[in-house]
Symmetry: C2
């Protein structure tokens, strides 16, 4: 059995949920508010960040890329030609490069600011940084996302999937970030038709369903969030 | 032939230099100031970050973890029992967890602030963020490093190397970060004897030599930086 400590708007957790869906695994989901620094969670993973995956009885796998590598190493061959980290070294470089691009660069320049300012700060006590959103950071993120949308359009326009001929971790990493921003209504889809067509293909996959059902108390997703014909 | 685009105080580049040293590879080093956003470098890697490794004629490998995985996949077996990413899945989780810990968490909480404030801002034009160091960030980094030193001491005190019985990427990732901070004289070695003993073992390895010879114009390393009996 697999348990995933996650948060609905943690993009890294969403990446792992998509990945598990593609492996055909339905995890037990435990929602973790990392800002609370819960003692039992810190014992599980001293870094105190979601996602943390537990494969029972006792294998603890923290962090999105370590989880992705672990699943490729233990279950990748079973996916055959649908393997999410392709076999040859050059394709693996490209998939990992894009995992870093979206999981680190896009996250740092877009998702982190939007989710922290618009959502997390509502639920955090003032002495730990909670309060009203810093609109300057929100505007910076909304400006930065355009560079990334152009890049997604470029990749999706020159390849079948973002890293090549096959769906890979790269698509899941990009879609995970975008789905968080889309929940908040901050993706300018109308200006990036090629990126939108690629995203609608990822969004239609069965692995995506549980993400589209995510709700947070007091926070409704943007109207097109769960719409497959957005 | 292998070329590495790096910067002497880029901790991620230092990790790759240590790794190459352990594989017995002496790369051609090209110093890259990423703040200049040089066109040819951005063509090589649109993320525009060091390190970027080129294996001639045409394999471009960007980013520390992608480089580490690439070398394990293409040359790991040749290292035999000295393989830097051990073979069994559980040990690989632990090594990757610690690579993330030092390469991301330690970097974000310590190295990035110290190097940016004390070094990079000197060489950057004012309109791109250059200027005097923000001493509040320097103090925060000097406070944060203590948590990490305790963690290194704990790991080094309970295992032979940071991730287990053998030297691994985890040791190189931790030493790379610490070596940058040590260059600036901001590691409180005297308070963390166990961490110091572990570091002196890594620092004595032949792979470390080129790091100890690093100099920057107008910036001398701290007195103990290159001293093996610090």
């Amino acid at each position: 059995m697999i348990t995933l400590y996650h948060h609905p708007l943690c993009a890294h957790s969403r990446f792992v949920r998509l990945l598990l869906g593609e492996y055909g695994i339905e995890p037990q989901l435990i929602e973790e508010n990392v800002h609370e620094r819960r003692r039992d969670f810190l014992i599980l993973d001293p870094a105190g960040q979601t996602p943390v995956l537990v494969e029972h009885p006792s294998t603890v796998v923290p962090g999105p890329s370590t989880i992705a590598e672990y699943f490729d190493e233990t279950r990748g061959l079973a996916l055959g030609k649908h393997r999410l980290l392709p076999e040859d070294p050059l394709s693996r470089i490209e998939v990992r490069r894009l995992m870093d691009w979206f999981g680190q660069k896009f996250f740092r320049e877009v998702t982190d600011w939007l989710v922290t300012e618009k959502v997390y700060k509502r639920f955090m006590p003032r002495e730990r940084g909670g309060g009203a959103p810093d609109m300057e950071l929100v505007r910076a993120a909304r400006s930065n996302i355009r560079t990334h949308m152009r890049y997604v359009s470029y990749l999706a326009g020159s390849r079948k999937w973002l890293a090549g001929d096959r769906l890979s971790y790269a698509d899941l990493a990009a879609a995970a970030q975008l789905s968080c921003v889309d929940f908040l209504g901050d993706v300018p889809w109308e200006e990036y038709e090629t990126a939108k067509l690629w995203y609608s293909r990822v969004k239609s996959r069965p692995a995506f369903r549980s993400l589209l059902a995510d709700r947070l108390p007091g926070l409704s997703p943007a109207p097109v969030y769960a719409d497959l014909d957005f």
